[in-house]
């Protein structure tokens, strides 16, 4: 996973206390994730997505959200999982992230949306340390243990990152020319 620099999230600075609050939880494959409810704008069903060239593979394209064009990220690809087809449970969670130029709305494709949970301080643990190269835990705020299940709380600003556009166009050009 590439290292993405995002605007520093308030929550990442302090202890677990700051992480307490309401989260929208969703699933990707067999894993459960949570995203702070304050950053969620809305949840919509999958609609036709217009592909945009020269963007990272996890950017599926753009949609028309009531006259505004917003980009759609496929979280499965972003997190290096196998993509799968869409079904009627597939959703787009529209989140708002702060960037230097102002706030940006981005849609995230997820397998299904579960529920809104109030997660308490004592339920949250810091992200585990995996082998240094296998997994970058920068995207993760913490792990919440609820009724024996673990929810991965995401730092959305980090996940979304600054830009989804591939800067190295040459790289792509090389691929295309050889392929």
């Amino acid at each position: 996973m590439e290292a993405v620099e995002g605007t520093e999230n308030v929550e990442s600075g302090g202890g677990m206390k700051d992480l307490e609050g309401k989260y929208l939880t969703f699933t990707l494959a067999s894993e459960e994730y949570g995203v702070g409810i304050l950053q969620v704008r809305e949840i919509i069903g999958v609609m036709e997505i217009t592909a945009v060239p020269q963007t990272a593979s996890y950017i599926k394209g753009v949609i028309n959200l009531r006259g505004q064009i917003i980009p759609i990220l496929e979280l499965r690809i972003k997190f290096g999982m196998e993509p799968q087809g869409y079904d009627d449970r597939t959703c787009i969670i529209v989140v708002e992230v702060q960037q230097e130029t102002g706030s940006v709305q981005v849609g995230m494709l997820v397998d299904s949306v579960s529920e809104v949970l109030n997660i308490l301080e004592e339920q949250i643990e810091p992200p585990p340390v995996f082998g240094s190269t296998t997994l970058d835990t920068d995207n993760i705020l913490g792990m919440a243990k609820i009724k024996g299940k673990v929810k991965i709380l995401l730092n959305i600003d980090k996940v979304i990152g600054k830009e989804g556009v591939l800067s190295q166009f040459e790289e792509m050009a090389g691929q295309k020319a050889s392929g």
């Binding site: 036709e48 060239p53 753009v62 028309n64 830009e163």
Partner: protein, 885 residues
């Protein structure tokens, strides 16, 4: 309240909380506040500090007046009181007597309408009085924000016009029109600044007005000394007004004091230096001069633009007069209301004065005098006065109406007004109040006295029976049919509102198209429905056009900024440059105005700095010493063209070629035409100037121009004729928001190609298709080999067929490069609203943005320059590539 003594800070916190919660009209909270204020006054902590006690006391007495209704019970007052409390808290925390705090405190108190009694609060007022001029800003100008904003906008406009006029005058120092115009602009600033209580601005404007007056009366010659002085003054005024704006917007801490004494002394020197004609203040005062200037400006039709401005303004003033007079009937002793009536009359008087609208001027002036007496307490307000003021208002309205008729329909519409009876009535009222002994002077004499006072009617013979005031004669004489100007009412609209309107209309257009193209609706086939739908389409289009035109502004202002630039540059470089501007009325999208400024500056600099030669060199080449730069704008097809031409030496093509070779930008094999070589200067980091001047020439200029223009979806080009000069051509789209495009399909995706760039589209024939090394592909179109770009490969989408002969090619041109874009199908032509793909996906090469298509999906708009260079980078078309970049 609390039985035990509480600390001052606790009490103040409590007060602050209550102030925050108070609603106008809620007297019970004020009661509680009063108790708290008492507690403050009596607290031991306060007693140690006389200022604190006085602050609390004055705070308390404001509250008392609030209850009594002497201070207005409004949210604004509470805001100020809130500020007062926070200042008291600040004082309490710092524990020392800070003059700036007490000063601000007094300010806020005053702004509630409360008058601070220096006898009652000696320490407080003394503190603030100790450094009244330096520490405490004079904030009277903040009293009427609306008026102030109007003043700021107007003055900035005036100052900009002054700058241009002065530059005009430098070329043509004897042009009385320009001198008058400059004079008028300062005069207006002077007048309005007095109105909004900006004394420093007023003084400065007044002083420079005097200087100009001397000039226009021929007492002083117009020379560079005067011009420089006027420019300096207008610069300073601009800074001052900017500061006023900052203060109004961001708060008092931005207040800055300006010392104008030095400048005024210098103005004196300049004025004295001319002809040694130093008039007394009174003699040079503008009111005196309007009568003097009558010969030059004999009628009110001299400046129709100014006049139509006056008309719409006057209507507003008259309306406000009426409203306030009616208020006055309810509350006849309210000084504020009287002032509110006085001010519009004053303005009308002033403006009508310099527009030579004598009848209006007389009437307004007389009424103003009457009101002045009332507000100075010489005369009580009475129902008679109210009646007269209302009557005068009505009369003024019909006179103004008549002027606007004259402007629109010509001099035939002119209608003389007899105002003598009104004037007489006012006079009578004035005398009645005076209780003066000469109660009944003969009417004619009275009239004469009045007219001589107001410098309006030149002869004392005007009486009730003389109907047409002098004004009619000259005005008719000066009329020519060309001068007809339609008086248009204008309103100022918040830019955000305008943008959101334009966006909403864009959406509406799309939705309308979606409904229109819905097959279900078309299947109904009901004639009425179809008719209604097409009617709806028409209205939508109309609405869209109007909304778009609202965003268009003349390019004049941007151009005018260049005048100053050229002046300064030519002085700096010792060149003699004439700037000719054409087509300033050409309209461009408001959003483009700012973005076009930087490129323009760079090109103008280039033209003056590198294009025009120094006088000696020009003479050697047999040219006139004075160089000419022509800046013009016009509309051509769907484009706005900005054309900058100079009559200098032209571009040193060989130098550019050498430099480009040195830098490896081109190779010897690149057989480029001179034109192509010249346009290499738009590449980043390219500069041919031998010596880098501080004006331009660090090689950053031209690529900035190109980037800036391309951001606006425009094209820039350089043409040059050796020895005769060079020309920059910028072509810009009419609007940024909408483009005309052809929708094409590739596989399942749809893209929009801007129509401007499209030359033709055709189905390729096998015999015209050529491939080179089975990689570069080209199509022979009318004996020209045009490289093919397979969009599907570039964008990584699956096309219907890989055989170009089964698809369609769209031949496009960009920067003189032709390319054939291979697509599967053409779907149609449509105007589309450009939308950004958002900050997250900005600057994708080959895409100009997105739009929402009729079916609600997003379509991507192609950026041809990006596509061509991307395809080159990908090595897809390395065939006849003339200008690799």
């Amino acid at each position: 309240m609390a039985s035990a003594e509480r600390s001052l800070s606790v009490i103040l916190d409590d007060i602050a909380l209550k102030i925050m919660m108070v609603e106008p009209g809620d007297l019970s909270i004020i009661g509680e506040l009063l108790e708290l204020a008492d507690e403050c006054i009596n607290s031991d902590e306060s007693k140690k500090q006389p200022v604190s006690v006085e602050m609390a006391q004055s705070f308390k007495s404001v509250l008392e007046q609030l209850i009594m209704g002497e201070v207005s019970d409004s949210a604004e007052s509470y805001d100020h009181l809130g500020q007062c409390v926070s200042l008291m808290q600040e004082m309490e925390r710092s524990g020392c007597e800070d003059e700036s705090i007490t000063g601000r405190f007094c300010d806020h108190l005053r702004q509630t309408g409360y008058k601070i009694d220096s006898g009652k609060f000696p320490v407080l007022v003394a503190d603030q009085g100790a450094a009244p001029k330096d520490e405490e800003p004079d904030t009277r100008f903040l009293q009427d924000r609306e008026l102030l904003h109007g003043f700021i906008d107007e003055s900035v406009e005036h100052l900009e016009s002054i700058e241009n006029l002065i530059l005009e005058l430098e070329k043509n120092p004897d042009d009385p029109e320009s001198i008058n115009a400059v004079f008028r602009a300062f005069h207006t600033i002077k007048g309005t600044s007095a109105l909004v209580d900006l004394d420093t601005v007023n003084q400065l404007a007044h002083r420079i007005e005097n200087l100009l007056d001397a000039v226009r009366n021929g007492h002083r010659k117009m020379d560079s000394g005067v011009a420089d002085m006027v420019l300096r003054v207008s610069d300073l005024l601009l800074t001052m007004i900017q500061n006023v704006k900052d203060v109004a917007e961001k708060g008092l801490e931005y207040y800055q004091r300006f010392d104008i004494s030095v400048l005024i002394e210098q103005i004196d020197l300049v004025e004295g230096g001319g002809a040694g004609m130093e008039d007394g203040e009174e003699e040079t005062s503008p009111t005196g001069n309007i009568s003097l200037g009558e010969g030059e400006v004999p009628d009110f039709m001299q400046d129709p633009e100014l006049l139509s401005g006056f008309i719409s303004e006057a209507y507003e003033h008259l309306e406000s007069i009426e409203v306030h007079v009616l208020e006055l009937e309810q509350d006849s002793d309210n000084l504020d209301i009287i002032n509110n009536i006085f001010r519009p009359f004053h303005t009308i008087k002033g403006v009508s004065g310099f527009l030579n609208l004598k009848t209006i001027n007389t009437l307004a002036h007389t009424t103003e005098n009457l009101l002045d007496d009332v507000r100075n307490g010489i005369r009580p307000m009475s129902t008679e006065i109210i009646d007269v003021v209302l009557d005068v208002g009505d009369r003024l309205r019909s006179m103004v109406q008549n002027i606007s008729d004259v402007l629109e329909q010509g001099p035939e519409a002119y209608q003389p007004f007899d105002i003598s009876d009104s004037v007489k009535m006012i006079k009578a009222l004035q005398e009645e109040g005076d209780g003066a002994p000469d109660i009944s002077p003969p009417p004619a004499e009275e009239q004469a006295k009045e007219s001589s006072e107001t410098v309006v009617e030149p002869t004392p013979s005007v009486s009730v029976t003389v109907p047409p005031p002098k004004i009619s004669q000259p005005s008719k004489a000066a009329f020519s049919p060309k001068r007809k100007v339609k008086v248009q009412a204008e309103i100022k609209v918040n830019v955000e509102k305008l943008d959101s309107l334009v966006n909403a209309v864009g959406e509406l257009v799309i939705m309308q198209a979606m409904v229109h193209q819905n097959p279900l609706i078309n299947d109904i086939g009901e004639p009425k429905l179809l008719k209604d739908l097409s009617q709806l389409a028409r209205i939508t289009t109309e609405l869209q056009k109007t909304a778009m035109s609202m965003r268009m502004v003349p390019i004049r202002q941007t151009f005018q900024k260049m005048t100053r630039l050229v002046r300064d540059l030519s002085k700096k470089t010792g060149k003699n440059v004439d700037l000719i501007m054409r087509g300033e009325e050409t309209e461009i999208d408001r959003n483009m105005v700012d973005s076009i400024y930087d490129p323009l500056v760079h090109m103008m600099r280039n033209s003056v700095d590198h294009g025009i030669q120094v006088p000696e060199e020009r003479r050697k080449n047999g040219k006139s010493e004075k160089g000419t730069v022509t800046l013009s704008a016009y509309q051509k097809g769907g484009n706005i063209v900005i054309d900058i031409q100079d009559d200098g030496d032209g571009v040193a093509t060989e130098k550019i070629r050498t430099r480009a070779l040195e830098r490896g930008l081109i190779t010897d094999n690149d057989h480029l035409t001179d034109h192509e070589v010249n346009n290499l200067i738009f590449l980043p980091g390219f500069s041919t100037v031998d010596k880098i001047t501080d004006v331009s020439g660090r090689g950053v200029g031209m690529d900035v121009v190109k980037k800036g223009v391309e951001k606006l979806r425009g094209i820039v080009e350089l043409n040059s004729t050796p020895g005769e000069g060079s020309q920059f051509l910028i072509r810009l789209p009419l609007t940024l928001a909408i483009i005309d495009g052809i929708i094409v399909r590739i596989g399942s995706e749809r893209y929009i190609i801007p129509t401007v760039a499209i030359q033709e589209s055709l189905r390729p024939k096998q015999e015209n298709y050529n491939s080179v090394h089975s990689r570069g592909e080209a199509l022979l179109i009318r004996d020209q080999l045009v490289p093919i770009i397979r969009l599907n490969r570039l964008f990584g989408v699956a096309a219907d067929s890989s055989d170009p002969c089964e698809g369609i090619v769209v031949v496009v041109e960009n920067e003189d490069r032709q390319r054939a874009l291979l697509v599967d199908e053409l779907l149609g032509k449509q105007e589309v609203v450009i939308k950004s793909l958002g900050g997250y996906m900005k600057d994708i090469k080959g895409l100009a943005g997105g739009t929402i298509l009729a079916d609600g999906r997003v379509g991507l708009i192609l950026d041809l320059a990006g596509i061509i260079s991307a395809s080159e980078e990908m090595g897809m078309t390395d065939f006849p590539d003339k200008m690799g970049d």
